[in-house]
């Protein structure tokens, strides 16, 4: 299979105006992906599917990713004049990256038996109506998985034929896979709580006043 650089060049030649970035992946898998722009997403997807060399005719997996607001801290060496001398000084810079929602598509070719090629689309933000173009018209197998992302992450897919919740009920309002989701507090009883459950359990324990006679002594010590 062609390398991502080559695919990127060919897509940009075939789809005028397409903006594609190669996203590095530092993990051991080294699986790099293509971030495609939302405006030309469907044309790019059609090209990837129909191009005789690539023929990425099978979309195996569609995933959502929730990126919270984050600050990237860097230390940069800057030349500064200190006490009349020019010195290299470490300067900490902070870059604020606003949060956004992302959809990741894993594409394979049944014809040529190659893959995966991974494409990503990035929504503008993580607001209630974060929008992405639907790729269901290109790969039918994306239909349910885009519905799942709509349900669990709250991404609206424009052009999806049947965008409804798929796992949770229609009246449900939250998006449980978002990182800031808080589940309903329905704690009742746990015989042996531990870790996160213990923290949750402690919130529900009624505070019992200390009544072993030591309070007076403690109070007395405080006054001294």
């Amino acid at each position: 299979m062609e390398g991502l650089e080559q695919i990127k060049a060919r897509v940009e030649a075939a789809v005028p105006g397409a903006n594609i970035q190669i996203v590095q992946n530092a993990s051991p898998s080294q699986q790099y992906s293509l971030r495609i722009d939302n405006e030309h997403a469907r044309d790019i997807a059609k090209f990837l599917r129909d191009d005789p060399v690539l023929r990425l005719d099978f979309c195996s997996n569609v995933t959502g990713v929730d990126w919270l607001d984050r600050t990237l801290k860097k230390t940069v060496k800057v030349k500064k004049v200190v006490d009349g001398e020019e010195k290299e000084v470490d300067e900490a810079t902070e870059e604020k990256i606003p949060g956004f929602l992302e959809a990741v598509y894993h594409l394979y070719s049944m014809t040529h038996k190659h893959g995966p090629v991974i494409i990503r689309m990035q929504a503008a933000d993580r607001a209630e109506n974060a929008c992405l173009p639907s790729l269901t018209p290109v790969w039918r197998s994306a239909e349910f998985q885009e519905r799942e992302i709509f349900d669990l992450y709250g991404v609206r897919f424009d052009g999806h034929p049947d965008l409804r919740r798929i796992l949770m009920w229609d009246e449900f309002e939250d998006h449980p896979m978002r990182k800031d989701y808080r589940e309903p507090d329905d704690y009742e009883y746990e015989p042996t709580p531990h870790d996160d459950v213990l923290a949750k359990a402690k919130e529900h324990y009624a505070s019992r006043p200390q009544s072993d006679g030591a309070e007076g002594i403690v109070e007395g010590l405080k006054q001294v």
Binding site: L167, M168, W169, D170, E171, F172, E173, D174, P176, Y181, E183, P184, D186, E188, Y189, D196, V197, A201, H204, Y205, A206, S207, R208
Partner: protein
């Protein structure tokens, strides 16, 4: 069992081929040996339930082989598997549609408490929040022997039910409810999250 007849006389008559019994004993004997379960499964526990019904374990030995696909004809609801919050209203509705007398076996860790999914957002933390459960079986999933044990335990329970008096069986007591409110789909959770008339969790004692 037989309040009206002397046990010795009864035994003597039995040796002569005369069987004396009470209405209550006859009624319970008939019911406990013909329990028709409702035919539905929710997750992997249902596979064990199917195995229990098949030839190797053979629940027919206890009179429970007639799995009915309609709640109108079923006596026993085996809640076999994970009850998601989306499925819970349908389970309660099926229970309400069953005719009295009716019984419930909560089979497996999920059905009794939510099991491994207890801390999740989408799984009901035990079906006993909405309907009364007669027998709980732990296990993930419980083996067919465990389900048979639960079945025999239920038979024992039926055998001890009274037809009259203050402690008579719930289905004969017109004051006892036979239907329970179906929870509604709320914005964040089921509403209500549990039926307080059915579900009373133990009080938290730690401080």
């Amino acid at each position: 069992m037989n309040e009206g007849i002397d046990e010795g006389l009864r035994s003597q008559l039995q040796q002569q081929g005369v069987w004396v019994t009470s209405m209550q004993e006859l009624y319970n004997w008939g019911r406990k040996n013909s329990i028709w379960p409702l035919q539905f499964g929710l997750a992997c526990c249902a596979i064990e339930m199917i195995a229990t019904a098949a030839s190797r374990y053979d629940i027919a030995r206890f009179g429970g082989e007639v799995f009915r696909p309609s709640p109108r004809q079923a006596d026993l609801m085996i809640v076999a598997g994970t009850v998601t919050k989306k499925m819970a209203p349908q389970i309660v509705r099926l229970y309400n549609q069953m005719a009295d007398p009716k019984y419930v076996i909560a089979m497996g860790a999920c059905a009794i408490s939510g099991g491994p999914f207890k801390q999740g957002y989408n799984v009901l933390k035990g079906i006993d929040r909405y309907i009364p459960v007669d027998v709980f079986i732990p296990g993930c999933p419980p083996r067919p022997e465990a389900l048979l044990h639960a079945f025999m335990e239920l038979q024992r329970k039926i055998d001890e039910q009274k037809l009259s008096g203050a402690n008579k069986a719930a289905h004969l007591d017109s004051e006892q409810p036979s239907e329970f409110p179906v929870p509604a789909f709320g914005k964040h959770d089921l509403e209500p999250p549990a039926n307080p008339n059915v579900f009373r969790p133990p009080a938290i004692e730690r401080a």
